[in-house]
Amino acid sequence: MTDKPAFTRREFIGNGAMIVSTMATVPLFLERSAWALTPATGSAVKDRPGVPGERILVVVQMTGGNDGINTVVPFGWREYYKARPGIGIAEKDVLKLDSNAGLGLNPEMGDLKAMMDAGLALGVLGVGYPNPNRSHFSSMDIWHTADPTGRSGKGFGWIGRTLDEMRSQSKGKIDATACVCVGNESPLAANGRQVKPVTFQDANLFRWSGGDLHASLAKEYEAINRAGVVGDVDPNSPMAFVMRTALDAQIASQKIRAAVNKEPVTKFGEGKLASQLRMVAAMIRAELPTRVYYVSLGGFDTHAGQPNTHARNLREFSSAIRSFYAELKAIGAQSRVLTLAFSEFGRRVEQNASNGTDHGTAGPLFLFGEKVRATKTGLLGEQPSLAADRLDQGDLIYNTDFRSIYAAVLQDWMKVDVKEVLGAPFRAASVIKT
């Protein structure tokens, strides 16, 4: 019975070791200044050994706790309609996926169903973790740090640690735009000890606002901030670090704004998620050396009057992902992008008296892309039981640990060491074609 505001993550902090190139005073950007200024023809970043192509991970956060039971609907289960007299979805409306198991998709998810039919989408059932926490913040922190105990995360997230690991694999070289997040605050997930994300809500605000006031100011500001390390500054000093970061920021800002201001090849739908993914596609198209993009869609905390809100959210979610992949196909990047969509928890099996649902536990997680394992039904794993005596305080009992999904993404997609990132050797779920 706790309800908190939509998730806004104040991330942060890191032991701020530098993101530096081997030549301390040359920002990484400049090593590739040739392509920074002209559109590249091939891949901007050299492939890493063992990683085919330039692989990109996109994380979609469904904020607020998506009601998994009305997303992948157990229409063949009596308990479902009994627990949800006001908000259950009629069998005739469900988009059937698995008639034997009595499972199908919410009627608003036709786009997702089409992707499943094309072998581009997979829903993993019953994803959660032991001793589930039903608070938005705590559960979100658990997903972000991949640490259900809350003890070992200490402010660093799984994606940040992944990029830290890539940084050490490449001997300290990683681009300042390795991770790009769209939002007001950087998600905890993206905070690495060394590698920090680039975060903006609106790419056109990802710059200094003072330059609007006068052209002469903008020019002088650029001159100062693009000068790099000036004077006889020790390259290891904090001063050199700040000067380098200032130059990196100027270039990142310029590249990102130039990228997202290009019109897409295909047509994107309406809605916040669609516009975020439109930006991501544009950055991929502009050959940014970004490895991970992070976007989010809010509004899943449906305590009251759920049906309309939830339907709208799922429609927006499905159509945004489908148009994203259509755009990726049009720009020839479809095979390079894996998308993972998660929510901090599912919701209570039994609806509440306000035609809504309260916080719950396990739920479905979705993966998208050409390399996602295709199954006949578009689903993987088992739907947890809805029987009253098989619930944990009225909530589903998980059967797939989310860290096994992370492990698959790390091991089979990003090609980084699972143990280094997750702190323990998790067995990868079989969700990616290897």
């Binding site: 200490k154 300042a176 007001n184 905890l188 606002s209 002469s216 901030n225 004077g231 306000s354």
Partner: protein
């Protein structure tokens, strides 16, 4: 290599540059006249003025607005009525309570935002800058966040506790912390009961609050947790639940006895690692950033500080005064070598330039985008700080925040006009005999960047200022301030 000496610098060497450094580190910095005032006091008196702040009147500061009863636990009689929640009546009542609870939580979050803005405003306005800077240190050291505590009044109460002991005795502060409802709630000590220990508080008390990693064993945690059983919260206050307290014999760090929480704290204060660990924290807050581990120089200074701290039985004033007068503190390697925390940057900009009051909600939002939302440290380990504050995203926020303080312009606001600035910075030049571009730049650059600004940069700024039509005006000085606060050098102090 910086000197490791904690001996005071010669009194005669204390000039405006040193006074400015002192004010920026022991406070948040200040305008030219405040710097001149401190320099005029001389070294010892200036340090005393900042550290012995009790005599400075703060009655004019705004008080926080709060309702201590926004979040209230369910009363026993209501709980009884709910029973097993199966009967029709109970269902209806439960639904009503649920709605009421959600309502209260929403109100409480608004109240937290108000308290957050109150503290930020207080940091900017207080005539006792060191007091707030110490409160900030303790907030990050005994870190708990409202995301978990979920009770703004408890967070405020904790803030008051930190202020009460800010420059007092560290031991007394720890004694207060183990009875602080926000910490007890944050670290689940309410469920630490005889026979069912919860080790969270015991562990953090040793690892993060007093000794540091590795200065204790797992068994000390188990035994310490037993000593802390029954330290709980009733409504808004500390409550000792006698029945839940384990009165048996414990063995903690080699000592045996029928220890309770206070005994446990006394044992910790008696360990040699404690003054070292606290000195390390003081060093990081006031003297310099420490990466993975201290350098040999830093290590030597921290050891010397620890000796002062333990010789004075954890009184904080002596170690602070020793530090603020020391040769190490004024070493050229130290001056201007620290990354400003978001609070230092925001509060410092407002104080040095005496900018007009801006929207405190916007400022609080900026704090959070810069990674230091007050009352919301990321974890019990507090903020990491140092270079971690600065990256390509936060750098723009930091620059834009300063621009907002100076001009009132928020990013993306295209309808901004010069009439809405509401700020005339010419007062900064009041004591400047010659208002040439060169001397104006020198004054502003000294004020905002200290002496560590490269000569080349000064030349460039002077050229820019000299090219403005109309010479030294409100407009051209505003432009200068915006430029200087957007320089990489401005991120350090």
């Amino acid at each position: 290599m910086a000197t490791t000496s904690l001996k005071p610098i010669p009194a005669a060497s204390f000039d405006e540059n040193k006074a400015r450094h002192l004010l920026s580190r022991a406070g948040f910095g200040g305008p030219p006249r405040q710097v001149a005032f401190l320099a005029g006091l001389g070294l010892k008196k200036a340090v005393d003025f900042l550290v012995d702040y009790e005599s400075i009147d703060i009655s004019a500061l705004p008080k926080p607005q709060y309702d201590s009863e926004i979040v209230r636990p369910l009363r026993g009689d209501v709980m009884k009525m709910l029973g097993d929640g199966k009967s029709g009546d109970a269902k209806a009542i439960r639904e009503k309570l649920r709605m009421e609870f959600l309502q209260r939580q929403a109100e409480d979050r608004l109240q937290m935002a108000g308290i957050e803005q109150w503290w930020l405003t207080r940091m900017i306005a207080t005539p006792r800058p060191l007091e707030e800077k110490l409160v900030l240190l303790w907030h990050g050291h005994f870190a708990s966040n409202n995301r978990t505590v979920d009770d703004s009044f408890l967070m405020l109460q904790q803030n008051v506790l930190f202020r009460k002991h800010a420059n007092g005795n560290f031991g007394e502060l720890v004694m207060g912390v183990i009875r602080d409802p926000a910490i007890l709630k944050f670290l689940n000590n309410n469920s630490n009961r005889k026979g069912h220990p919860n080790e969270n508080l015991a562990r953090e008390l040793m690892e993060l609050f007093t000794l540091g990693v590795g200065a204790y064993g797992e068994n000390d945690i188990k035994q310490g947790a037993r000593a802390l059983t029954g330290y709980g919260v009733e409504d808004n206050d500390f409550a000792f639940h006698r029945n839940a307290h384990d009165e048996g014999q414990k063995e903690i760090l080699g000592r045996k006895g029928l220890f309770d929480g206070e005994d446990f704290v006394r044992i910790l204060l008696g360990r040699p690692q404690c003054p070292l660990f606290i000195s390390y924290k003081l060093y990081r807050h006031f003297v310099g950033d420490i990466d993975e581990k201290p350098t040999d120089t830093q290590e030597a200074v921290i050891r010397a500080m620890a000796k002062v701290l333990s010789d004075n039985r954890y009184e904080l004033k002596p170690v602070l005064k020793t530090l603020f007068m020391s040769e190490h503190f004024y070493d050229p390697q130290i001056v201007g070598g620290m990354v400003k925390s978001p609070a230092q940057l925001l509060v410092g900009t407002a104080r040095m330039l005496n900018t007009p009051a801006r929207n405190s909600g916007t400022l609080a939002a900026a704090m959070s985008m810069m990674g230091q939302q007050l009352f919301e440290p990321p974890s019990v380990a507090g903020w990491d700080g140092g270079r971690g504050w600065i990256n390509t995203s936060t750098l723009f926020v930091r620059q834009n925040m300063a621009t907002y303080l100076i001009t009132g312009k928020v990013p993306g606001d295209q309808n901004w006009s010069q009439d809405t600035v509401g700020y005339d910075p010419l007062f900064l030049l009041a004591d400047l005999a010659d208002r040439s571009p060169g001397s104006t730049v020198n004054l502003l650059s000294n004020l905002l960047l200290g002496e560590h600004a490269a000569a080349g940069r000064r030349e460039e700024l002077t050229k820019y200022l000299a090219a403005r039509r109309g010479g030294i005006t409100q407009g051209s000085v505003l432009a200068m301030l915006m430029l200087v606060t957007a320089m990489p050098e401005y991120q350090l102090c």
